[in-house]
């Protein structure tokens, strides 16, 4: 049996630090919103000439008064991702096409064009925030129905921890937040909850079984009993996600990365946050029996 409980305090301090640092980053550095939420235009180009590089492309586009243009390689040397802010010129994509053809010859294939107006991006951001909030509230209600309040608090803290730290990491690394990241965050919410609930189920079962074991020991027993399941599921989920990350193409990179972070944090938090809340709230057999009497 691994003594997870020996590190409860240390990891609690670590988690609190991580959450504070993440909140700090989110407040002061902010998130790198993609055009879905900020509005603007995105163009994915493939060039057939390997002499064309990011700087020559950028130089060319800078002559067009596009405002703040970002030019990056996308996955490989020949693919480029161009982004710029909302432009009042409705014909801008055509003009870029003409301009590029003039300067480089007919070397570019426009693989993807996305243009999100300011009104739509504001709506998408709003509905994204609503979706995550609704998800958190629904999880709260679910867990509140299923468990005693001490458990609910533990699960919810773990959930907030995972979402905040994942977003914090995205802020730290400057990774782009787009619609698919919202999908990833919601899936993380589901996954983290799922992991926590499985361990909590066992804690509750053990609380009924043993009246003489203190919660500090009892959580450790429960974590160990469910440990191989926790690990196997995390590993298979990570295997699936890693294969999306490495083979699923550039477009899914951000999504799978967010999910990978989320699964790691989710697994960690169900052990080191959810359970420690039970310990700190001194949950005992009486907590459960009281609840049983009521029903």
């Amino acid at each position: 049996m691994i003594a997870f409980n020996k590190y409860y305090d240390k990891f609690n301090i670590l988690s609190i630090t991580l959450v504070i640092v993440s909140l700090f980053l989110l407040t002061f550095k902010g998130l790198n919103f993609g055009i879905d939420f900020k509005g603007g235009t995105l163009i994915e180009l493939r060039s057939s000439d390997n002499k064309i590089n990011v700087s020559s492309l950028r130089e060319n586009l800078n002559t067009m008064n596009l405002g703040d243009v970002s030019v990056k390689n996308f996955g490989n040397e020949l693919d480029f991702l161009i982004k710029f802010e909302n432009n009042s010129n409705k014909n801008i994509i055509n003009e870029i096409k003409i301009n590029l053809d003039k300067s480089f010859g007919n070397q570019f294939d426009f693989r993807r064009v996305e243009n999100v107006g300011p009104k739509v991006s504001a709506e998408l951001l709003k509905s994204g925030i609503i979706a995550i909030s609704v998800a958190l509230v629904l999880m709260l209600i679910y867990i509140w129905i299923r468990f005693e309040w001490q458990f609910s608090l533990g699960a919810i803290l773990a959930l907030f921890h995972d979402v905040i730290v994942t977003l914090g990491l995205f802020s730290l690394l400057g990774l782009e937040i787009n619609l698919s990241i919202i999908a990833a965050v919601l899936t993380i919410v589901g996954y983290s909850m799922n992991d926590t609930v499985v361990i909590f189920d066992r804690v509750r079962e053990n609380l009924r079984k043993y009246s003489d074991i203190k919660i500090y020991e009892l959580t450790n027993i429960s974590i160990n009993e469910t440990l191989s399941r926790t690990l196997i599921t995390s590993v298979t989920t990570l295997l699936a996600l890693l294969s999306i990350f490495f083979f699923g193409g550039e477009i899914l990179k951000g999504f799978s990365l967010a999910m990978i972070f989320g699964v790691v944090f989710g697994t960690y938090s169900s052990i080191y946050i959810a359970n420690t809340v039970l310990v700190r709230l001194k949950v005992s057999q009486r907590t459960i029996l009281k609840e049983d009497e009521k029903n």
Binding site: R202, G249, F255
Partner: protein
Amino acid sequence: MLYFSKLRIVSILLISLFFIILASSNLFKFKSSLLDKKINLGLDLQGGSYLLLEIDNTPVIEQKLQNLTTTLRNYFKDKNIKIKNLKLLDQKISFSVDENYKQTILDEFNNQESDFNPYYPRFKSHQLDLIEENDIFFVSYSDQGLIKLKTSSQDQALEIVRRRIDEIGTNEPNILKRGNDRILVELPGLDDPMRIKSLLGKTANLTFRFVTNNQEDSFGTEKLKYEDNSDEAIVSKRIILSGDNLLDAQPRMNSETNETVVSFTLDRVGAKRFGKATSTGIGKQLAIVLDGKIISAPVIRDTIASGSGQISGGFTFQSATDLALLLRSGALPAPLNIIEERTVGPDLGQDSINAGMIALAIGFLLVILFIFIKYKIFGLITNITLIINLFLLIGILTIFEATLTLPGIAGIILTVGMAVDANVLIFERIKEELKNEKNNLIAFDSGYTKSRTAILDANITTLLAAIILFFMGSGPIKGFSLTLGIGIFTTLFSVYFIARLLTVLYVSKNKEKEGLI
């Protein structure tokens, strides 16, 4: 938990077989109509254009209020009430009347039988709101009136948009209403939406009006620019003909001038008016105005009674074709703005499909290998379950002819990773039970029973997330939530029916064997 009746076994096998065949119908062509279904590929996979258009209703509202000022003036004139200071400002009409008429005005506006202010009994609201402030009346559209106006202009715009897109002949366009002032257009297989965008961006409001030098034209005049911004002219506001009078328009080559023109045919009313105008206006210039710009302003040389004519204006064949198309399909009630566009080229789509499939194959193999190494014979059972699960998932998507997007493929791969969870929960529980229970059958039975709540919990939490995403997410994200959500049901089915059936078959043959799992 462990008993299966013969009937049940047969139905499980039949269901699985049905879905396997259904799922494979995506690869092979089946003759039967029931099986001849296919998963639709989303625009991000097959390539295509997604355009969200917003109707700018401001000009419509202003036009309607403008007309209303005339109506009001005449209506109350007939009742011998003098309307003073009648003005239209910021989509509000303001006016004042003598003190003793105020009540009449209020009564007329609040009359449920009112001619100029329709009453909607269903919504208990009039079309217009009347507010009195410092002896001045303000008339504006009520919330309900505005909704009616917007939906009606949305209906008209949708029709025109559909006609324009049909004229171009893209395959299987999807044109849908969104809210009360938006139209969603999905054009599969279109990698350069430039032409459609420019066609949808034009209102195509065509009018024929005389060029006038007389500033005191009784209809009023306005200064308009030429299409190529080269010059401007003063044009009467009197409309001789409008696009509504056109029956047909086609691009033509004028053999005399060797110029591309748009020839048009007028309806009977239009032909009569055109004949009259051309007979009285010989020597005058007739401006052909499209969306507030003059295309050309030819001098009338002869009376045209045939009801057909030509528009010239330095067209290329393409621009003449487009103008003819716009004129044939009619004018939009209000300008459309493209507020969101997402276009994916077909080769990127194909690349995404390939990448998605490779990721699925590799993810699947890795999971299968890992599970087999971990659980051996039960790993094999889990893996068979996983494969059938995949067929079930694809089969259900096929039945509904659902749309598969790139995030949707990610959802399938994620389902593969998470579907194992339920079996793992069961097997780990059985392992624990076997520590205290020598009888395999009893241990397996209680393993299944005791792991049930945890499995349900785990799946309900994921399902909640998927449902929220489905209803709140947009576009490709919906595809992800769809596969994730359906994946939960197929997982539960395959774990509780297929995996359990296989487990039962194996355990009943090895009742006494030790260290089974």
